[in-house]
């Protein structure tokens, strides 16, 4: 592959963005290559831009701020240097890592000798008179994942928020390398509990695309049901957590009760409360169709009065208004995904271009406010839409022929595919490269990856007491991001 001139690398990617395409992944390899995959939201086609370099490459961040974290991560994991990157502080790396340790670089063979120091990375602060620096986490008071937040405050107002995630970096991408294809699914399932079906589906779609497997109609509907059931679960959780942020405990507890009912239903229908190990190459769990309709009816009976309760609660609705505002321009500049993007006026939902959803009418739920209230309302409508999609898919599933074509996973697959799904948190992308039945490179670009910097952007200028509310309205996944 002939590599473009460094300036062309920037220009070409910038042109893709200007043409309204969405960046799926920016993937590095240990052969000093970079590949950017762009999705055309009109026709669902994927276009790639590649660059070969000699250890340093021109940073895209000055022209595409959304890849700031991708490039920092590449710098930490591969040791490749993005030139002119405005902020090359460690992202994944901690001071415990030896200087030359780059876990995904080719030279790495055995675990290094970790330094025995405090794992405290330099934070970006605001300096000046009257400014307080407040550090929160990584351990929190509630049942929350690990994240370290450094606030620069002036009085009650947040001037700047610096996020230090990757506290529980498990090295999943390194673990997946050189793994036989048959042993990948258990790890991919466990990348995260909130978007697990989406991760599993991405893996299944990647292998099926490489093998040229044509999935049966019936399998497609089963996967749609699983993906939507996961969205309902995730949205129920988020809808419960937002009232908790303002002490509206009745709404929180009732929503948690609905979530529990739903999870018990999932356990009965699919064998797992969080839907682990329900989708794989060539298969997906078979639910009882009657059970699905009963579960949906039960949820609707509780959801309708709950929705009426929260939407008629003036204090609660007012509390969410104009807090944590994301403007559409910021959302697009920073590559916002999912609910956060749609609540800011961006009409993009990857389900509209996914072949899996063909034949179903998917209308992206869009709000213009960009505030906590808008994100809350988007979830309310999306949850109801998901229930309708499940019903429609279940009806079609009932009419489809029941026989799965028998399929054995080939052991000598080779190929390179980028797959994506619309997870509850947004566009979730896997970049999978297989050589002779083993993974050569597996890059996961989770849905929340670009929304974390957006959260920091949305919090600045708000009262620090509103941070939990804003945070819960994004309800971003740590596990996916840390990997």
């Amino acid at each position: 592959m002939r590599s473009p001139h460094p300036e062309q690398w920037r220009q070409r990617n910038q042109q893709k963005k200007a043409a309204g395409r969405r960046l799926l992944t920016l993937t590095a390899s240990n052969r000093h290559t970079l590949t950017a995959h762009w999705l055309d939201p009109q026709d669902g086609s994927v276009h790639a831009e590649s660059l070969s370099h000699a250890g340093t490459f021109p940073s895209l961040t000055p022209v595409l701020p959304e890849v700031a974290w991708d490039e920092r991560e590449i710098h930490d994991l591969f040791g490749d240097v993005p030139e002119d990157h405005p902020d090359l502080r460690p992202l994944v790396r901690t001071p415990r890592w030896p200087q030359a340790f780059h876990p995904l670089a080719r030279s790495q063979t055995s675990p290094p000798n970790w330094h025995d120091v405090e794992p405290d990375n330099p934070a970006k602060l605001v300096a000046g008179e009257g400014i307080t620096v407040m550090k929160v986490g990584p351990t929190h008071a509630g049942v929350i994942e690990s994240g370290h937040f450094v606030f620069s405050l002036i009085g009650e107002n947040v001037l700047h928020l610096d996020l230090h995630l990757f506290q529980n970096h498990r090295g999943i991408e390194a673990l997946l390398e050189q793994r036989p294809v048959a042993a990948v699914a258990p790890l991919v399932t466990r990348i995260c509990a909130a978007d697990t079906v989406s991760h599993q589906t991405n893996w299944a779609l990647a292998i099926e695309a490489m093998a040229g497997y044509q999935s049966a109609e019936e399998l497609r509907w089963r996967r749609v049901i699983l993906l939507e059931a996961e969205r309902v679960l995730s949205h129920l959780n988020d809808l419960a957590q937002i009232p908790a942020g303002v002490g509206f405990q009745v709404a929180q507890q009732r929503a948690l009760a609905m979530k529990e009912t739903w999870q018990r239903g999932l356990k009965a229908l699919f064998g797992h409360r969080l839907l682990f190990d329900t989708v794989g190459p060539g298969w997906a769990q078979k639910p009882s169709i009657d059970g699905i309709f009963i579960l949906i009816d039960n949820l609707r009976q509780a959801f309708k009065p709950w929705r009426a309760l929260v939407q008629s609660h003036h204090g609660f609705m007012d509390r969410m208004h104009a807090v944590g505002v994301v403007r559409q321009a910021s959302a697009e500049r920073l590559g916002a995904e999912g609910v956060a993007a749609r609540a800011a006026g961006t009409s993009f939902d990857a389900r509209t271009t996914m072949p899996l959803y063909q034949g179903l009418s998917i209308v992206p739920v869009v709000q213009r406010g960009g505030d906590v209230q808008a994100r809350f309302l988007v979830r309310l409508d999306e949850l109801e839409a998901s229930l309708r999609i499940i019903e429609e898919s279940a009806t079609r599933l009932r009419r489809s022929p029941t026989a799965d074509p028998p399929w054995v996973l080939p052991h000598d697959l080779t190929g390179h595919v980028v797959t994506y799904t619309e997870s509850p948190h947004g566009l979730n992308v896997h970049d999978v490269e297989i050589q002779a039945g083993r993974t050569a490179r597996y890059h996961v670009r989770p849905a929340t990856y670009r929304n974390w910097p957006l959260l920091a952007h949305a919090v600045a200028g708000n009262a620090v007491a509103d941070f939990p509310l804003i945070n819960k309205s994004f309800e971003l996944c740590y596990s996916c991001t840390d990997r």
Binding site: M134, V246, R319
Partner: protein
């Protein structure tokens, strides 16, 4: 006889305050569809905390260790000044200003201890508690002035009997009660101003100031917190409730009133969400406005 009755009454307030707290928590739990802990859970919580090891932050001073005792002492003294049965023996201090200043003293030391804990949230909590105090204290002082204007007293017992002997009419009484309720909710650190049940450090007010405490020092703070809760409720009813000639009848009425109020608080906390921090001045101004209206209606009528 009066002295014994007063001491017994105050001891009763002290003894039942964790129970009142428990009633409110149970009502909240039931309205949320939960069973919730048993009614007397707070007694067990305090007993458990008392037996735990007491540690203090490395950078804190004597202020941190002394503040819970001073806070509890201030609330206990405040409780002693309330004529729970409607009457106190001659020479017994029961001035409304004394009571308010004792409550302010407690707030001052809680805030100081929050700062002295040398933690991030302690400072944040101290700042918020003190800011809230700058709104609550003028409102209470204004109420005190109004009461003095209309009744000619600042001692609680004569004010209470003055209220009890005047047919106020439903409107001024309701306005006064709502106004006082708003201010006292803020004073107690309950919704919609502060949420005592949250685990979200960044939103905390009072809880943030005691976040670094454990063991006996925390137990003292918990006793002070529950006692303040019941002192404030009792004070409200002593001022606005009925006042019969018999002390024991008054005590019985108070008992019914405080239980009903604890239930009502649980209901209120389930109906409201927390207002924005920056809206608290507006909330307190509303309370003050209603109080002024009540004053004009009472003084004019």
């Amino acid at each position: 006889m009066l002295g014994i009755a007063q001491i017994v009454a105050v001891l009763m307030v002290v003894a039942v305050s964790p129970l009142l707290w428990g009633i409110t928590q149970t009502v909240k739990a039931r309205l949320q569809g939960r069973h919730g802990p048993r009614l007397g859970q707070m007694y067990w919580v305090i007993a458990k905390t008392w037996t735990k090891e007491t540690t203090v932050p490395e950078y804190s001073s004597w202020i941190f260790r002394l503040a819970p005792s001073i806070g509890l002492a201030a609330i206990l003294l405040a409780a002693l000044t309330i004529p729970v049965g409607g009457r106190v023996p001659a020479g017994w201090p029961h001035n409304l200003l004394t009571l308010f200043f004792l409550l302010a003293l407690e707030r001052f030391w809680v805030g100081l201890a929050g700062l002295d804990s040398a933690g991030t949230f302690g400072g944040l909590g101290a700042s918020r508690v003190s800011t809230l105090g700058t709104g609550v204290e003028p409102a209470l002082l204004a109420a005190c002035g109004i009461l003095w204007q209309v009744s000619g007293h600042t001692e609680i017992a004569p004010v209470a009997s003055w209220f009890a002997t005047r047919p106020l009419g439903a409107l001024p009484w309701t306005l006064a009660a709502v106004s006082m309720g708003f201010v006292l909710l803020a004073e107690m650190g309950r919704l919609p101003v502060d949420n005592p049940d949250t685990h979200l450090e960044l939103t905390m007010m009072h809880e943030a100031t005691v976040l670094e405490y454990d063991g006996r020092l925390l137990a003292l703070s918990q006793v002070a917190m529950t006692l303040k809760f019941s002192v404030v409720i009792v004070l409200g009813w002593v001022l606005l409730g009925p006042n019969l000639p018999s002390i024991w009848a008054n005590l019985a009425i108070r008992a019914v009133e405080v239980v009903l109020t604890s239930v009502a608080l649980g209901w209120i906390e389930s109906r409201f969400s927390k207002i924005r921090y920056f809206q608290i001045p507006a909330y307190l101004s509303l309370a003050a406005g209603l109080g002024v209206l009540a004053f004009y209606l009472i003084a004019g009528g």
